[in-house]
């Protein structure tokens, strides 16, 4: 076998990708794992190998610590691991194009597992492009990878488990919180409780959530509930922020750093680029790939595992990765169908337990309506600097979809390729045209998935041997 060929290509070395790699290797497959980070772990276990050697592991919590064993098992599994490599195209067959250390090349594989995880849901508001406004996830990554915290007491706005977790970790690290603008709408807990499943195993998760809240309350910083609108202001950087709660209460405070978070959504650019069918997930307010019970997409031998398959967290990501890997092994003939089915059974059980609490969390932390309806002056497309007002004006001329408005306004044409504006665009169109958002669709994803240079692409031709 050529060095550029493997049975299985896994994209992403987070919980799903690592679990898939370990399983696929144990079934005798050759495996290549591409990841754009310098070390395994994904976002949840970012820098786990480094941090595990230091005392600061203690303040990042047990769930983080668990990543150390996974990374070690992954390192030992015999997969060809290529960190700091950017995948920018997968062509049918499969040929994957990547850039590593400034060099482009292509590799081939018989099956692909996309374990590209999730990103924080873009939640535009006026001023969200100012330096000093970051996501909570970004701040947590800074804590894990650089042991860095905001210099001055930080404002945090948003909803979901991540802000609570980060605030706990920040306080444990000695950081300071200026205040928490909780954007969870009023009445959500009651609505969410209907989704609370039976079963004792989940009480531990709930208790963990409650314990975060208690620790935060003890810290004594202001918590402002049911914040509906935000505005960041400043000359060249964040200087102040203005908030308005559901009941009309308003406030304006000085701020150097504001961290925002409105949940996470699957990374769907790679599956969309491969032509995989996606469907709207009403509970999570995002598109998810159409998958069978093994995680296989509408494109044969292309699988999605982990949060890219629908947000489920690390506990769901690992069984999803193993299930997909078992199916690949069966497809490629190293494992019988029946054996794959038996091996998958306990993993399906783990998956279902991991997902049991999800509808409750989805309902509790569903994004507030303002996330999808930013004020006219808000930059929706950060790259091409297109405002919500411009998109709204276009959306009512005829009945254009996202791709037409993209062509006319350039929203979605910048380097992020719509990763920050796609959902906002879809919701603005849906509202303007009075139709359901799931009917509006998403941008067509143009390759390359990452902005490779002309020289890197050219080098693929320059290295071709003369015919």
């Amino acid at each position: 076998m050529n060095a550029n060929e493997t049975d299985l290509l896994i994209v992403g070395a987070g919980p799903a990708g690592m679990a898939a790699a370990v399983t696929a290797r144990s079934q005798g497959l050759s495996v290549r794992v591409l990841d754009d980070q310098p070390a395994p772990g994904g976002q949840i276990w970012r820098a786990i190998e480094t941090v595990a050697e230091t005392p600061r592991i203690a303040r990042l919590g047990e769930a983080y610590r668990a990543g150390a064993d996974r990374a070690a098992a992954f390192r030992a599994c015999g997969a060809l691991y290529e960190p700091e490599s950017q995948l920018w195209q997968i062509e049918p067959g499969f040929r994957a194009f990547l850039t590593q250390q400034g060099r482009a090349r292509s590799v081939t594989a018989r099956a692909v597992i996309l374990a590209t995880g999730a990103q924080e849901r873009p939640a535009p508001f006026p001023g969200w492009t100012l330096p000093g406004v970051l996501t909570v996830g970004a701040a947590q990554i800074l804590l894990k990878t650089a042991d860095s915290v905001p210099t001055s007491p930080v404002w945090i706005a948003g909803c979901g488990p991540l802000p609570l977790l980060y605030m706990t970790q920040l306080l444990a690290a000695g950081g300071q919180i200026a205040g928490f603008l909780d954007t969870t709408p009023r009445g959500r807990l009651g609505a969410a409780l209907r989704h609370l499943p039976q079963g004792l195993g989940l009480l531990a998760d709930l208790a963990k959530g409650l314990s975060w809240s208690l620790a935060l309350r003890r810290a004594g910083f202001p918590i402002i509930r049911h914040v509906a609108e935000l505005r960041a202001e400043g000359e060249g950087r964040l200087e102040s922020l203005h908030y308005r709660a559901e009941d009309g209460r308003e406030g304006e405070v000085a701020a150097e750093v504001l961290l925002v978070h409105e949940g996470v959504v699957p990374n769907i650019h790679a599956p969309l680029a491969l032509g995989c069918a996606v469907s709207w997930h009403a509970g999570q307010h995002c598109y998810v790939p159409d998958l069978d019970s093994w995680g296989e997409t509408s494109q044969p031998n292309v699988f999605v595992a982990g949060d890219g398959a629908g947000v489920g967290g690390a506990e769901a990501a690992e069984p999803r990765g193993r299930i997909a890997a078992l199916r690949v092994a069966a497809r490629l003939g190293t494992l019988g169908e029946g054996a794959a089915e038996s091996a998958a059974r306990p993993e399906r059980g783990r998956l279902s337990r991991a997902l049991a609490l999800r509808p409750f969390l989805d309902a509790l932390y569903a994004p507030r309506p303002q996330v999808f309806a930013p004020a006219d002056e808000t930059l929706v497309c950060r790259c091409e600097e297109v405002t919500a007002g411009e998109l709204r004006a276009r959306a009512v001329q005829g009945r254009p979809g996202p791709n037409q408005i993209k062509a006319f306004t350039r929203a979605g044409m910048g380097p992020c390729q719509g990763r920050q504006c796609g959902y906002t665009m879809a919701h603005i169109i849906a509202t303007a045209q009075n139709r359901p958002v799931e009917e509006v669709g998403f941008y067509r994803i143009r390759p390359p998935l990452k902005p490779v240079t002309l020289g890197e692409l050219a080098s693929l031709d320059e290295r071709e041997p003369a015919a």
């Binding site: 754009d36 950017q86 990554i141 650089a146 060249g236």
Partner: protein, 98 residues
């Protein structure tokens, strides 16, 4: 905007941001170092030339584009520091004559 909680000691390297030497720790990203500098911004946009800084730290916002060792529009959050690395903030649309 951000500060480091520990002294990296033996892990310390020096990178140059717009020519100025700056300490950094092996394993951290260029974007993490940029966020510790007094200047809040790391680039200005090619359209309105408004200042931007790292936003997502995981490769999906493309706000932390900087020039690294002569290669422009590199995602700073995906680039680990190396000793002697030269980082330049990008202002407005790139000019190829430079």
């Amino acid at each position: 905007m951000f500060r480091k909680l520990h002294d990296p000691g033996a892990q310390t390297v020096t990178i140059f941001i717009d020519g100025r030497p700056v300490p950094a720790e092996l394993g951290e990203s260029v974007a993490a170092v940029l966020l510790r500098q007094p200047e809040a911004w790391c680039r200005t946009t090619p359209i309105s030339e408004s200042p931007r800084a790292p936003y997502c730290m995981m490769g999906v916002c493309f706000e932390c584009l900087v020039e690294v060792d002569g290669l422009a529009s590199v995602q700073g959050c995906l680039t680990p520091v190396r000793n002697g690395m030269r980082v330049a903030r990008q202002q407005g649309p790139r000019s190829l004559s430079a």
